[in-house]
């Protein structure tokens, strides 16, 4: 029994990391209409920053958030500024950021080599720590990622649905000219949102670095899961993203126990296909129009 509960719990918790990686992507794609592959690079680089801060200066990995968030928020804003200037469309953004992705990967491998980088247990004591709920272990990095993802998802949802900032970005994404004619400064608003999305990537990177080894090609492995989460959750829907991530984590955890790890991707993607067939707009997507 504890095998089951433990596996399900760790599946659910890994949903927290998936969510954290996907939230910014969802915002950027759903609202800014930028399919930002550089988002993956931000996650990876933020992971490397965390590693480097711990390695060179003995920083606690959690403290790395203080550096990574502002750095990548600025980077995200700068990118958005460029996208705005170039008037990049959705598809163009995919290719353009693919170019950036290649460049960032190559930079990472120049700076940190292609070899694995992983904080040891002294630099990152959290990798082997857990919070215990009875006999269920909640590993600290995953738990932290999960908690932060929940907060971020609800916070962002509030921001997008209930505040003027949220309405402004949505309006902008639908009809830029008219939105501008109602006093919305497109650059400022979009850059702030892009900064936010990149900040989420930075946080995700910190948690990734805390729980696994880094290498420059790692980011490609995330494409499948993150795109699945983003689309299953409904583009731009933060709550949907969270739910989708948790579902995927849960399905993966259960499938690993039932049929072995190779079943996990099969189960995840079958559930994904089934869900889309029955709810094609995604979990939280709008149902009308």
């Amino acid at each position: 029994m504890s095998l089951w509960t433990q596996s399900i719990v760790s599946g659910l918790l890994s949903g927290g990391i998936y969510a954290m990686m996907s939230l910014g992507m969802s915002l950027s794609w759903g609202v800014l209409k930028i399919i930002n592959l550089a988002h993956f690079s931000f996650i990876l680089l933020s992971g490397y920053f965390t590693y480097q801060l711990a390695f060179s200066y003995g920083w606690d990995p959690f403290a790395a958030i203080l550096v990574c968030v502002p750095v990548f928020a600025l980077a995200g804003m700068a990118l958005q500024w460029a996208f705005d200037k170039l008037r990049v469309s959705e598809f163009e953004s995919l290719l353009l950021t693919f170019g950036l992705f290649i460049i960032f990967e190559s930079i990472a491998s120049t700076v940190w080599t292609a070899d694995f980088r992983r904080m040891d247990t002294v630099q990152n004591p959290y990798q082997s720590q857990s919070v215990w709920l009875g006999d269920i272990a909640l590993p600290v990095p995953q738990l932290a990622a999960f908690v932060v993802a929940v907060i971020v998802a609800f916070g962002t949802r509030y921001l997008m649905e209930k505040t003027d900032f949220g309405r402004a970005v949505r309006a902008l994404s639908q009809d830029r000219d008219v939105a501008r004619a109602f006093g919305i400064d497109p650059h400022r608003v979009a850059m702030r949102l892009a900064g936010l999305a990149a900040a989420f990537a930075a946080i995700a990177g910190v948690f990734i670095a805390m729980s696994r080894a880094l290498w420059p090609g790692l980011a490609v492995e995330w494409f499948g899961i993150v795109f699945s989460v983003v689309i299953l959750g409904g583009l731009g829907s933060t709550l949907g993203t969270l739910i989708a991530a948790v579902i995927i984590g849960f399905v993966g955890g259960v499938a690993t126990v039932v049929g072995g790890p190779p079943m996990a991707p099969l189960a995840i993607f079958l559930v994904l296909i089934a869900t889309l067939l029955f709810r094609p707009q995604g979990i939280m997507g709008r149902s009308s129009i």
């Binding site: 639908q174 501008r180 109602f182 006093g183 497109p186």
Partner: protein, 234 residues
């Protein structure tokens, strides 16, 4: 209030406006009439800053706004009802209206304005949570007008506000224009209901092929034989 001097504009290599000049006085209602494709919408968009001017000057309230981006034109006090509705299709009716009152000056009285719009267009209140894109054509037009009213402009630009509206609503629209004008808002309206528009306005311009060809008091235009044959079809 608004001075447009020798404005030129166009699309790509194609010029659509040639040295257009016009004026809207404080508290005035001015109408522009003209045939299809004359450049009326282009002119409205140029004034609102949505479309760039190639040359000329636009002065609003003594301040040059020619090259200002649209959001700055908006904060200066100009709101627009664009041609063909252009509502935010994937946002609810309420959110569309709130965007109307987004800029700082309008935000303070947003609640009252919202209620006022709902009172003018009860249909919008009924559909408050519907996505704007799924509204009927006329309902979207009401929303576009309501949204502009939310912005509390000092100059309201309307591009064919009656488009697709049932006669009974068209009446309402013209009443509203009169009412907000009485509250001190200047109005520049492009309208194909030429008779009603000229009855409402104090002055009118005739725009043909990108050029102003006539400017007169509205009543005079109504009686002008050229205008009558060209635009009233009588």
């Amino acid at each position: 209030m608004l001075e447009v001097e020798s404005v030129r504009a166009g699309y790509g290599q194609a010029q659509a406006l040639w040295d257009v000049s016009l004026r809207v006085g404080d508290g005035e209602i001015v109408t522009i009439i003209g045939p299809n494709g004359a450049g009326k919408s282009t002119l409205v968009n140029v004034i609102a800053g949505i479309h760039p001017a190639w040359g000329g000057r636009i002065v609003f309230d003594g301040r040059e706004i020619t090259a200002l981006p649209p959001h700055r034109v908006c904060t200066a006090g100009v709101a627009v009802v664009p041609e063909g509705r252009q509502v935010f299709a994937d946002m609810t009716v309420t959110d569309n209206l709130l965007i109307g009152g987004y800029h700082r000056a309008a935000r303070a009285r947003r609640k009252e304005n919202y209620e006022r719009v709902c009172e003018i267009f009860p249909r919008l209140a009924e559909r408050a949570n519907q996505l704007a894109g799924s509204l009927s054509g006329g309902e979207q037009q009401m929303l576009a007008i309501g949204r502009a009213l939310m912005a509390e402009p000092r100059l309201l630009l309307l591009d064919e506000p009656s488009l697709g509206l049932a006669p009974v609503i068209v009446d309402t629209i013209f009443e509203i224009l009169q009412r907000i004008n009485a509250e001190g808002v200047s109005v520049l309206v492009v309208e194909q209901n030429v008779v009603e528009a000229l009855e409402l306005a104090s002055r009118g311009y005739v725009l043909e092929q990108g050029r102003i060809v006539k400017e007169a008091a509205a009543a005079d235009l109504l009686d002008d034989p050229d205008v009558r044959t060209a635009y009233l079809g009588v």
